[in-house]
Each structure stands twice: as C-alpha cells, then as structure tokens.
Amino acid sequence: MKALPAYVVLLCLVLMAPIVIVVILAFSGGSYLQFPPRSLSLQWFVRFLGDPQWRASLWVSTIIATVACALATTVGFFAAYAFVRGDFPGKKLMLSALLLPIIVPTVITSIAMYFLSARLGLVGNLVWIGVCHAIIALPVVLLILLSTLHGVDANLERAALSLGASRARMFVKVVVPLAAPGLVSAALFAFLASFDELIISLFLSGVRAQTLPVRIWNSLHLEIEPTIAAVSAFLIGVTAFILLLDAAVRGRRGKGRIQ
C-alpha cells in the first residue's frame, strides 16, 4: 500500500503550492510579477507599506480585529464557562444557535447588518465593524474554549471554594490561569478571523474604513496590481505567525504536563 502515502504527499503539495507560490511571487525583482522570479527584491513590499492608502487599510484592519478579538474572547470565555459548568436545559440548542453566524451565508448577514448600520449611521465605524466581526469570531472562540475548559478538573474549582475562596477569587486565581493557553489561542484565532474577514467589511466599510481584504477584493475586481502579491504574502505571514505563536503556547503547556 504505497498508493496512499504517495497520494497524500501529492495532495499536500497541491494544498501548499498556491500559498508558497504567492509568497515567492511577492519577492519578484522585475517590473512585473514572474515565476520563477529572475531576481529577488522587496520592491512590492516597499510599495505596499509606502502607499498611504494601503497603510491606512492595515491600520483599519488592525483596529477592527483588536476590537473583535477583545469582545469575542471575553464574551466567549464567559459563555464557554457557562456551557461547561452550568446546568440548564437546552444546552445543545443554545450552542447550535451561537454557532449560527458561521453557518448562515455571510452575504445575508452582511446585507442585514448593512441595512441596519445605514439607518443608524454606523457604516464605516471601526468599532461597530469590530463588533460585527466579533459575532463571526465568537463560534471560533467558543469551540476552542469549550475544549480547554473541559480539560480543567472541576475538582480544582471545588477545592478553591472549599478552601474559602470566593467565586470571583476562584475564577481569577484558578480558572483563568488554567485556561490561559486556551484563552491565548482563542484570542489569536479571533483576531485572525476578523483580520481576514471580507464580506462583512465589504458591506460595512464605506469609503473610510477599507480593510486589507476589501482593498484586495477591489483590486482583483478592477485591475490586478502587482502589490496584491505582497499584501497577500503579508496576510499569509500574519496567519503563519499566529499559528506559530499558538503552537508555542500549546507546546509550553504540553511540556508542563510531561515533566
């Protein structure tokens, strides 16, 4: 049975190829993108970061993702705790409802959000876009923290209470430290979910708040500028960085267990 490993290797190459190629393209030296590049340079990155509009988009994306990350992680942490430790009817239904935002086609959600935002004058409002992104990031946060909190022995919480800690103290001194790796993970992926989100941003951005994905979209629709390769490579870099950071956090926790 050598066919299976061969197939898996081939598929992995196909999966990674587009991403790797875009990253290589972004370092092209010539006056247009070419693969394989004849020479390497940082010119497209220089153009990306030198352009005030691209810089503004980077700033907008970062602010929105920070708002979404903070909100989704906090709210999601409380909700995950309620799911894991709470005792109430309809748990499964409630969780399914909270997962709906990633199930319902984002086009529909975005149009509805736009419809309301336009009436309320919130189109282009960075904080509001962050709040809207948070609803998409919330399911991600929930799924990560549900499994994290399930790994926290309920007896540790009981022990803290039996030793006289108040509920709040138990939460801060025991639950939060033990869930810390999961919290970091959840925050990272919530940030990424918002940073990469396109459709909601497309509808809510207006002219003032164009995120990086929105600018890429516009460029792909009108005229493909070579800078897109550099912006894409940058977004891939952010993803890679977040995955590495997450692996490092998990790795540290894993090591702690083995010792």
Partner: protein, 277 residues
C-alpha cells in the same frame, strides 16, 4: 457545583447574538418584505422572484456546483483523513500542517493564489506551453471549472477535519477483531471501517454543502459571466440594481434552506461532542 449564577455568564453572548446577528436579520426581512409600501403582499413577491429566469438559473447553478464541490471534497478528503487517523508523530504533524495553513489563510488570498495559477498567462498555462503540451493557453479561469477548484480548495479542510474526528473515534480493536476472524483487508474496510466512519461522511458532506450554497467570494472572482450563484445574485441586487425586496426574498430562501440543512446536521451530529463531553 452548579449554580444558577453560572448560567448567567451565558447572557453576554446571547445578548450579542440577538443584537448584532438576529435583530438585524429580522429587521431586514420585516422592513423590506412587510413594511415597504411599494412591495405589496408577501406571497406574490416570493413567487415572482423565485419564478424569474435569473433566479431559477442561479438556483440550478448553485445546487450543481455545490454538489460537485461536495463530491470532489469527499473523494479527495477521505484518504487524507484516513491517513491522518492512522499516523502520529512527524508525518501526522506535516500533513495536518498542510491542511491547517490554507484553512486559516484568508479566503481572498487563497482565491487570488488560484487566479495566479489558472489565469490565461498564469503559471499552469505557462508551464504547459513551455513543456510543449499545448500551443495556445487553455481557458482555465472564469468558468465553472475554476469555481469548483477554488471552492474545493477552501472547503477541503472542513471535510478532512470532520472525517478525521469520526475516524479517530473508531476503536482499532474492532479492525483487529475482524482481521482475527479471517476478514480480508478490503472486507474489513468495507464492512467495518466504512460503516463506522459513515456518520463523519454525512456530517462532513452536509457541512460542506451548507457552506457551498452560500458561497460568494470564490465564485464571484473565479466564475464566468454565466456562472451566477445565488449569493452573488443577492449581492448584485443590493449593490447594482438596488432591488432590496428581491434580495430579501432570495436571502429568505437561502436562509431557509441553510437552516433546514443545519437542523438535519444538528440531529445527526452530536454537537455536545464539541464540548468534549
């Protein structure tokens, strides 16, 4: 341990779901379909939108592409999931890395990558011409083929991860028992392994199909003028023709189908497993 107060911690999330998600949806449908003075009664509106040629065509295209993508993803994903479920160590890490990195990369970036590969002067055509296999570039982009490639690329990780979870829960002793009783490799696979992984197949296919029918970015960028999926039609009604009531009717339809499929998914899948219970 459990106290009523613990349940209260759910409130912020529910509040956010209602205010930022449910309320805008509800308000949107009520305003465009019921309150709009020009719109008239609801049922005729729905009938006229659903029976229009463009919408019917989009429904057919959406279903066709979604089925094609679901089947492709399943066929491509099953062997990889099987491989992952039976490996550990470096090989597992490497393969899961190749699945997860695209999974967490922005959809717009992934779509752009395939456009670079499939374009008329894209890498694949360049390579084929250079190797002398073809003389003139093939039209690989802006058609259904490109949409299926792009969507398969985006949705494959969902299928692989769902199947992997299902396969991982199969007790390998059952396979050993079957082999011990004299079953051949293929018999063990078809009589034991496949049936036991079937709920993963169904869950994975459902989730991929649900996500497919609402797809927007990839078909909008990689499809041709005639390859219009329903989500694109909704977006165009709002952005180009400013026909809010058509957009609302199509959204309602798509939402209803999505929710029905999600309800089936909900019945078939033990969502509590997500909680690790």
């Amino acid at each position: 341990m459990t106290r009523p107060q613990t349940t209260l911690l759910l409130l912020p999330a529910l509040l956010m779901l209602v205010l930022v998600f449910a309320a805008p949806l509800g308000w949107f449908f009520v305003q465009t379909l019921l309150r709009d003075p020009d719109a008239g009664p609801l049922w005729p509106q729905i009938v006229s939108v659903v029976t229009s040629r463009a919408v019917l065509q989009a429904i057919v295209t959406t279903n066709w592409i979604s089925l094609l993508v679901t089947a492709t993803v399943l066929v491509l994903g099953y062997p990889v999931a099987y491989y992952l479920a039976n490996r550990s160590g470096v090989r597992f890490t490497l393969v899961i890395f190749c699945i997860v990195v695209p999974y967490f990369t922005s959809i717009i970036v992934r779509t752009y990558s395939w456009m670079v590969l499939l374009g008329t002067d894209g890498l694949i055509n360049d390579a084929l011409v250079w190797m002398g296999i073809i003389q003139t570039p093939l039209k690989l982009l802006y058609n259904q083929f490109a949409i299926v490639i792009g969507m398969t690329y985006v949705l494959l990780p969902y299928m692989v991860l769902t199947l992997y979870a299902a396969m991982k829960s199969i007790d390998t002793n059952l396979l050993r028992a079957a082999r011990g009783m004299g079953a051949s490799g293929p018999m063990t696979f078809f009589r034991i392994y496949l049936p036991l992984s079937l709920h993963g197949v169904i869950s994975g296919a459902l989730i991929v199909f649900i996500l497919s029918i609402g797809f927007f970015i990839t078909p909008a960028l990689m499809g041709g003028p005639s390859d219009v999926m329903i989500a694109m039609l909704i977006e165009r009604s709002v952005e180009i023709t400013l026909d809010w009531s058509s957009a609302a009717v199509m959204s309602l339809l798509l939402l209803a189908v999505t929710l029905v499929l999600y309800a089936i998914y909900y019945r078939l899948t033990d969502i509590r497993r997500l909680m690790g219970a």
